[in-house]
């Protein structure tokens, strides 16, 4: 009986995930052994989970609607960045007349980015409907292409606010500090409290929870149910009178919107907006996180998102100090282990999906 359960657990959970979980537990034990500052590790884990959570959540509507993990969520991220920059520019132009508070700016950034995200999402969904079966590869390259074309756009877009524009030369800066506008960590600090030495970023986690709740609610709406069915079995759904292509576009658009909001949450927590190469490889982190949480390229749930984010980002937070405590020679170990785990788990999921 117990053996049976263990075997079932193994097949459901998968070898790759087991190794990763084992690695995480090992790191945690090591952290205790090396007497690292556990409170600090927990504080920064919580912050990182909230910071990435929404971006990982963006994978859920995409997988549910059947397009697979959204390797092109960088499109959403770019929309979010345009929203953020435009909001900052607005604050700058209005400066002296009306002073916009950090909270208002954050909301403004979301509101501005929404129409971009919706339009992009629809166009992107339309494209993905034409390339069924190769969505992952094409999403990746659409993402890469758009990031690189936006690199040109950042040079030409008419943002003049001094924290954005280079003092001399053309274009906006590679990294924009949010410190001056009071947005930095605005969610993190909202209702934040301490348990012992652990800082709980209440606002950040609440916002992530709110987003999860909205997605949960959507999945239970008429549209959401149709979308889930379309992802589960497109042929069934067509027989049930569901417009599969429309459902996939809705899923893609929803994912793109969450990508836009996700980068804004990320940026306020990080304190900087990263442009140019910045969004290029972010999708892979989000994809890996949801897969580590137990999702497959065909099925995912909110639990997978939360568990995956916690596990993957937890490892990243703990790995570096543990490696450094072990030997100072291994300065890059944290980054290297991230690369191996992140891409290893995606590869594993691809082999599990089987052939066409």
């Amino acid at each position: 009986m117990l053996q049976n359960l263990a075997a079932k657990f193994m097949t459901n959970f998968g070898l790759a995930r087991l190794i990763i979980l084992g690695f995480f537990i090992f790191l945690c034990i090591m952290a205790v052994v090396f007497q690292l500052d556990i409170a600090e590790l927990l504080t920064s884990s919580l912050a990182r989970i909230g910071m990435w959570g929404v971006l990982v959540l963006a994978m859920l509507p995409a997988i549910s609607s059947g397009i697979g993990p959204n390797f092109g969520v960088s499109l959403g991220i770019l929309c979010g960045l345009v929203g953020a920059l435009t909001a900052l520019e607005t604050a700058f132009r209005l400066g002296g007349v009306v002073e916009l508070s950090g909270g208002v700016l954050f909301l403004l950034a979301i509101i501005i980015s929404l129409p971009f995200a919706i339009l992009t999402g629809i166009a992107y969904g339309w494209l993905l409907n034409r390339v069924k079966g190769s969505e992952m590869m094409i999403a990746t390259y659409v993402g890469f292409s758009m990031v690189s074309i936006m690199k040109i756009a950042w040079l030409f877009l008419p943002y003049t606010s001094p924290e954005m524009a280079w003092p001399i030369g053309r274009g906006v800066r590679v990294q924009i500090s949010l410190a001056g506008r009071g947005i930095t960590r605005i969610l993190n600090n909202f209702l934040s409290f301490n348990i012992g030495d652990v800082v709980v970023p209440t606002g950040l986690l609440l916002f992530f929870a709110l987003m999860c709740f909205l997605v949960w609610l959507f999945m239970r709406s008429k549209t959401g149910i149709a979308m889930r069915a379309a992802g589960d079995n497109p042929r069934f759904s067509e027989a049930a009178g569901i417009n599969v292509n429309r459902s996939r576009i809705i899923g893609t658009t929803f994912s793109t919107i969450l990508g836009a909001i996700g980068i804004l949450v990320y940026a306020q927590s990080y304190g900087f907006i990263q442009l140019y190469e910045g969004p290029m490889f972010m999708p892979f982190v989000a994809v890996a996180a949801v897969l580590i949480g137990g999702a497959s390229v065909k099925k995912a749930s909110i639990t997978h998102v939360v568990v995956g984010t916690a596990l993957f980002l937890g490892i990243q937070v703990v790995a570096i100090p543990v490696a450094n405590a072990f030997t100072t020679d291994w300065a890059s170990m944290g980054e290297i282990s991230r690369k191996i785990i992140q891409n290893g788990v995606i590869l594993y999921a691809l082999t599990q999906a089987g052939g066409d």
């Binding site: 239970r220 709406s221 149910i225 079995n233 069934f236 009178g241």
Partner: protein, 528 residues
């Protein structure tokens, strides 16, 4: 008669997981003989061929009984490669051709003629060059034997189907040791003139001393070229006849013949004259089940059966009316025209469908039982929804209550309404499909192959449920099934489909000969 047999199959039997599908089959084929095998679906034709070819599916399920003797020598055929070595060739129903290759390259596929070069002396045979000249010569010879004048270097892509078929045959003839060729429904894809030519070629091949095993449902073709004919039914050999000693009628009767199972309906009922569903010239592009202009009338409250052999288009009718495959033509529901190719519209007009492809289009395997039951009604009839402002959300409690009711009524064995459908047995999955159709409270219910792949007890229950719906609720039911016996036990009338058309409509107690003839695409006997 003195001539020795080329192939003897003795006492062949096979069962899958305890269910016998072939019992004690004996076959005897001489060189140069054309031997036809006819039978309904599930009669055991394909299992017999799989055994002859040593297919994986036979050996991974425990092998078979009996023995195969080739030229007097007992052979153990445990792989398709072995079958080919022995000299058994096969012309597949689906073409095994590579479109971008020339005819020669296709004929010689993986049997290329090679010549060594300086590198191959180091790296081995795999790196030897193709000897295109010799390959072309060989192919030419094979094509000439078939009397096909087409150039062997022409690319296959874009050739008419007939030429593709002949390329396949040329490939078998070209195999130097070929002693016997199996033709699996070779004329199914061909136009009439092409089919005639193919039959002539088959005769020509037989004259060279190669035996031919001919699997077909076209009885007139069987009569026109075979030397001997074996009829299979329900996994048993019901007779082997010489061509001179039999006719189409006898074959038809042998093929179908069985006692009518006990009627579930009491007496033959008087049907109302109201027409619930009418189709005119309905054409459905369903791959493998094409419908070519069906005219059909279904009366209100009727239990209509649609029967016929696989691939003839019987399942295409329901799929077309329900909008699952692209269709043309006219359909009226209760006298008002239906707009085709829109499944949602078909459902809104009061029809529901239980698909023959349960796992493909019938179920959301990765979703719960309750979602599977309600989704059609929820999406198309806006049932089980609660409205909050602009948004409509699922009525979780309503769904749960309804699912529990259905589970009880249809006796679905499960751990609860939240269980994933993929974990249910075939019979219970079928009940979930029926529950979904019933949730829509349809006027007309289409059911295709409702008992395929489920056990006997569940079969009976499914059929009884359908009869109950028909008798007690007055629901019009159109049931498509490959099992004629099943149709005859529950239907008021049975339409038989052949080659995409309805070849005739018979009462359930019609004669076996008539059913057999209609299935083979021929007219029923006049005055019978």
């Amino acid at each position: 008669m003195a001539e020795a047999s080329l192939l003897q199959m003795q006492g062949i039997g096979k069962s899958y997981y305890g269910t016998p599908v072939l019992q004690d089959i004996n076959l005897n084929i001489k060189p140069g003989e054309i031997h036809a095998i006819v039978g309904e679906n599930g009669a055991g034709k394909s299992t017999l061929m799989n055994i002859l070819f040593g297919m994986e599916v036979i050996h991974s399920t425990g092998g078979f009984d009996g023995e195969i003797i080739i030229n007097g020598k007992k052979e153990k055929i445990d792989s398709p490669q072995r079958a080919m070595e022995i000299g058994i060739g096969m012309v597949h129903q689906e073409f095994m051709l590579l479109p971008n290759y020339s005819i020669t390259e296709n004929i010689k596929l993986n049997r290329e003629v090679l010549k060594p070069n300086f590198l191959s002396r180091v790296f081995g045979q795999k790196i030897e060059h193709l000897n295109m000249g010799q390959m072309n010569t060989d192919s030419r010879k094979a094509l000439d034997k078939l009397g096909i004048g087409i150039e062997e270097y022409v690319t296959v892509a874009g050739l008419p189907v007939g030429y593709m078929q002949f390329t396949e045959i040329a490939r078998e003839i070209d195999k130097t040791n070929v002693k016997m060729i199996v033709f699996d429904e070779p004329t199914a894809v061909l136009a009439e003139t092409e089919a005639e030519k193919l039959l002539e070629s088959m005769k020509a091949i037989a004259e060279e001393g190669i035996a031919i095993l001919f699997i077909t449902h076209r009885l007139d073709e069987v009569i026109s070229i075979s030397d001997n004919i074996t009829v299979l039914r329900d996994g048993k050999r019901v007779g082997t006849k010489k061509r001179e000693e039999t006719d189409v009628y006898e074959l038809a009767e042998l093929m179908v013949g069985r006692k009518i199972e006990k009627m579930v309906h009491g007496e033959q009922r008087e049907l109302k004259n109201e027409i619930a569903l009418k189709t005119e010239n309905l054409v459905v592009h369903m791959p493998g089940e094409k419908v070519n202009g069906v005219n059909l009338e279904v009366r209100k409250g009727e239990f209509l059966g649609i029967g016929g052999l696989a691939g003839q288009g019987k399942v295409g009718i329901a799929n077309g009316v329900m909008g699952l495959y692209p269709s043309r033509g006219q359909v009226w529901i209760n006298g008002s025209p239906l707009s085709l190719n829109d499944p949602g519209e078909s459902m809104r007009q009061g029809m529901a469908y239980v698909s023959e492809d349960r796992r493909g289009v019938g179920l959301l395997l990765d979703s719960s039982i309750e979602l599977n039951i309600v989704i059609n009604a929820l999406h198309n009839q806006k049932k089980f929804l609660k409205k909050y402002g602009f948004f409509k959300f699922q009525d979780t409690k309503g769904i749960r209550d309804h699912a529990l009711k259905m589970i009880k009524e249809l006796d679905i064995r499960c751990t609860g309404p939240g269980q994933l459908v993929k974990r249910l047995s075939g019979g219970n999955q079928q009940k979930v499909c029926i529950a979904r159709a019933l949730t829509m409270e349809p006027e007309i219910l289409f059911v295709s192959e409702p008992t395929r792949g489920i056990d006997v007890g569940a079969k009976r229950l499914v059929l009884e449920t359908l009869v109950k719906l028909n008798e007690e609720l007055g629901m019009t039911i159109v049931m498509t099934s490959s099992e004629l016996g099943e149709l005859r036990s529950v239907c008021d009338r049975i339409a038989i489909v052949s080659e995409g058309n309805i070849s005739g409509v018979l009462p359930p107690d019609g004669s076996d000969v008539d059913f057999g003839l209609l299935m083979a695409g021929q007219q029923e006997r006049r005055g019978a």
